[in-house]
C-alpha cells in the first residue's frame, strides 16, 4: 500500500519513522493494553490525545513538591508555585510564537472562544469604556464564521449575535470539504467585524488558507479568531507569523491534561478588552461599588487557576518540541494520505473532505453506505479499534455534506502504520457483516 501513497504535501521535513514511533509509544503506557481481547488501536486523538509519562509526572511532581496558590501569599512554596506556573506560560507562548502576556489560561478552547465573545458582549454594553469601543457590536454589524466550524466556534458567535443584534454570516463549504473562497469575498465585507474560522477541520481534515482569510479580514478591518484546536497539536503554528488577532486551543488534544486551554490574543487588543469572568486574582483595587482590573493576561484569569494542568501542559509542549513539530506534521500528513488511499479503496466508503494528494491533517472521516456510523464504530471497537462516531460537534458541516453522522479515524505521533492498516482491513469486514453488498 505504501507505494501508492504520493509524496506528502508537507514533505519539507523528514517524517517520524516507524522505529521512532515505536519508541515514542513506550512513553504512553495507556496504549499498551488489550481492548476486547485485541491490542488497543487508538484512532481518536482528534477527540482527546493520550498523555506521555512526563506529563503525568509533571502534574504529580507539582502536587508532591510545589502545590500552593499562585499570585498570592508571600511564603516560599507560593513563590515557587507561581514561578513554575508562569514558566509554563512562557513555554506555551514560545511554542506558538506569542509573548508571555498574550497567553491566557482557560478551561478549554470552548471557554477561550466564549471569553472573547463575552468580552465583546460586555464592550457592547459599554463596559471597558472608550478603549473597548472597537469591540462593540450592534445591529448592522456582521460576524462571519465558516460552515465547517466545530460547535465551539459557532454557538458562542450565534449567541453574541443574539445578544448584540449583530448578524451571523458564514463562508460556505464546497463538496470536497474545502472553503468556498470565491464566495468568501462576497461574505466578508465592510460590515464584517469578526472573522472566526478553524485552522484545520476536525471532520474533513482540511487545512484552511489562513493567509488568504486574514488578508480578506484585514481588507475590511475585521478582527480574526483562529480555532487552532486541530493545528497547534499537529503542526508548527506561529500566531505572530499568521497575524491572527486571537487563537484558541485545548491542552487535552496535545498530550496534555483536560481542564486547560489557551486563548492567545494580541496584547494591544487584550489590553483594551473588558473582562469576561470576574472576581479574585484579576483586580488591583476594589471598593464596594467598583473595581480596577489587572493588565492581561491576569485580567482574564479570575479565581484560582488550573495550576497543575498548566504545568502539565508545558511538559506536553516540551515533549512535542523535543520530538519536533515539523517531523510530527510530516508523519501525520503521511498517515492522513494513507487513510485516504485505503478508505477510497473500500467498496461503499465515501470519504468526506479533500481527495488524495490534497493537504489534510492526519485524520479522515467517512460514510459507509448502508451501515450507520454507530454500527461501524461498534464493529471496530470489538476489534480494539477506537474511532469517533457521530457528528463530531459539527452538525452544519455534516448536513452540508449530506450525512447526519460519520466515522472518523484520527492519528497522532504515536500512531503506527500497522494500526492504520489494521483499521482499514477491519473496516473492509463491516459492510459484509451487516449484509450490505456494494
Amino acid at each position: 500500500m505504501t507505494s501508492s501513497v504520493p509524496p506528502s504535501p508537507r514533505a519539507n521535513a523528514r517524517p517520524l519513522t516507524d522505529e521512532e514511533v515505536d519508541r515514542i509509544r513506550n512513553d504512553f503506557p495507556i496504549l499498551a493494553q488489550q481492548v476486547n481481547g485485541h491490542p488497543l488501536n487508538y484512532l481518536d486523538s482528534g477527540a482527546t490525545s493520550q498523555n506521555p509519562l512526563s506529563v503525568m509526572e509533571a502534574e504529580q511532581e507539582f502536587y508532591e513538591q510545589r502545590n500552593a496558590a499562585v499570585h498570592r501569599g508571600a511564603h516560599t512554596l507560593a513563590f515557587g508555585a507561581t514561578e513554575t506556573f508562569e514558566a509554563a506560560r512562557t513555554t506555551v507562548a514560545a511554542f506558538i510564537g506569542a509573548r508571555d502576556d498574550e497567553v491566557v489560561w482557560t478551561s478549554n478552547a470552548t471557554e477561550a472562544v466564549n471569553l472573547v465573545a463575552y468580552s465583546f458582549s460586555n464592550a457592547s454594553l459599554g463596559l471597558g469604556g472608550a478603549a473597548a469601543r472597537r469591540f462593540r457590536l450592534g445591529a448592522g454589524d456582521e460576524i462571519v464564521v465558516t460552515e465547517m466550524e466545530h460547535h465551539a466556534n459557532l454557538i458562542p458567535w450565534q449567541q453574541l449575535a443574539l445578544r448584540t443584534g449583530a448578524t451571523l454570516r458564514f463562508i460556505p463549504v464546497l463538496d470536497d470539504g474545502t472553503l468556498d473562497l470565491a464566495a468568501a469575498a462576497g461574505v466578508v465585507g465592510p460590515r464584517t467585524r469578526v472573522l472566526a474560522f478553524t485552522h484545520a477541520s476536525n471532520v474533513v481534515g482540511t487545512v484552511n488558507p489562513v493567509d488568504e482569510l486574514v488578508a480578506l479580514a484585514r481588507s475590511v478591518g475585521a478582527l480574526v479568531l483562529l480555532d487552532a484546536c486541530q493545528s497547534v497539536p499537529h503542526m508548527p503554528v506561529d500566531v505572530a507569523a499568521l497575524d491572527v488577532d486571537f487563537a484558541v486551543f485545548s491542552g487535552h488534544k496535545m498530550l496534555g491534561p483536560t481542564g486547560i486551554g489557551v486563548l492567545f490574543g494580541k496584547y494591544e487588543l487584550l489590553a483594551d478588552m473588558p473582562p469576561f469572568l470576574t472576581g479574585g486574582s484579576m483586580i488591583t483595587t476594589v471598593d464596594m461599588h467598583t473595581a480596577e482590573f489587572l493588565a492581561p493576561p491576569q485580567r482574564f484569569e479570575a479565581g484560582t487557576q488550573r495550576i497543575s494542568q498548566a504545568i502539565a501542559l508545558a511538559a506536553a509542549v516540551d515533549y512535542l518540541t523535543e520530538t519536533g513539530m515539523e517531523r510530527i506534521a510530516a508523519r501525520e500528513a503521511e498517515l492522513g494520505q494513507r487513510l485516504v488511499t485505503g478508505l477510497t479503496d473500500i467498496p461503499g466508503v465515501r470519504l468526506l473532505g479533500p481527495p488524495l494528494g490534497v493537504e489534510r491533517i492526519g485524520l479522515a472521516s467517512f460514510d459507509l453506505a448502508g451501515v450507520h456510523a454507530h454500527d461501524v464504530g461498534q464493529y471496530l471497537d470489538e476489534a480494539g479499534i477506537a474511532v469517533r462516531i457521530g457528528h463530531h460537534c459539527a452538525q452544519p458541516l455534516h448536513r452540508r455534506l449530506g450525512v447526519t453522522a460519520s466515522t472518523r479515524a484520527s492519528t497522532y505521533l504515536y500512531t503506527t502504520t500497522d494500526e492504520v492498516d489494521q483499521f482499514l482491513a477491519t473496516l473492509r469486514e463491516v459492510a459484509p457483516f451487516f449484509g450490505v453488498h456494494s
Binding site: 451501515v371 461498534q378 470489538e382 457528528h391
Partner: protein, 172 residues
C-alpha cells in the same frame, strides 16, 4: 477477528428489522395538527414524541393514534385504551431503527396498560447488563435485544423509539 460477540449483539432479527423497518413512514410525517384532525374523525386521539440521542444524533419520531375502547372499559379507562395506529420516522443505527420497527410490531393493537408492561420488561432487560435472560414468550422479537444489555453505551439506541413511545403515551 472473531465475530461471535458481534453476532450476539447484532442478531439476525435485529439486522432484518433494521432493513425492513416495520411501521416506518417513507415520507415526512404530515403536520401533527392536520393529522390529529383526521385521526379525530376516525375516533382516534393522536399523540407523538420526537427523541434524539445526543451521543450520535440518532433521532426518531413516534406518532400514534389511541382509541378508547368502550367494551373494555372495566377499570382504568386510559389503560384500556387501544393503540390503534403507530407510525414512526427516524434516522439512526441499526439497533435504534430495528428497535423502532419491533416497537411498532409489538404495541400496535395492544392496550396502553399492556404496552406499558412490555415497555417495563424491555427496559429492565436492557438495563440488566446481561443478567436477565429475555423471555421470548413475553418479549417476542424484542427479546433479540438481549445482547444489547451487555453494551451499556448502546442501551440508549435500543430505548430511543420506546422512550418516544412512552413520552407519547403521556402526551398532550
Amino acid at each position: 477477528m472473531t465475530n461471535s460477540a458481534m453476532q450476539q449483539l447484532y442478531q439476525q432479527i435485529i439486522l432484518d428489522h433494521a432493513k425492513s423497518r416495520h411501521g416506518a413512514s417513507p415520507d415526512e410525517l404530515p403536520p401533527l395538527a392536520e393529522a390529529a384532525a383526521a385521526a379525530d374523525a376516525r375516533g382516534l386521539h393522536l399523540t407523538e414524541s420526537h427523541q434524539v440521542n445526543t451521543t450520535c444524533g440518532d433521532e426518531v419520531t413516534v406518532r400514534m393514534g389511541v382509541r378508547a375502547d368502550p367494551d373494555r372499559a372495566d377499570g382504568d379507562a386510559d389503560g384500556d385504551a387501544v393503540i390503534d395506529e403507530l407510525v414512526w420516522r427516524g434516522d439512526g443505527c441499526s439497533i435504534s431503527m430495528a428497535s423502532a420497527s419491533v416497537l411498532s410490531d409489538s404495541v400496535r393493537g395492544t392496550t396502553v396498560a399492556e404496552s406499558r408492561a412490555l415497555l417495563d420488561t424491555f427496559r429492565e432487560m436492557l438495563r440488566s447488563r446481561g443478567t436477565i435472560e429475555p423471555d421470548e414468550e413475553v418479549l417476542g422479537d424484542a427479546a433479540a435485544f438481549g445482547g444489547v444489555s451487555r453494551y451499556p453505551a448502546r442501551v440508549k439506541c435500543a430505548m430511543l423509539a420506546w422512550v418516544a413511545f412512552e413520552a407519547a403515551l403521556l402526551g398532550p
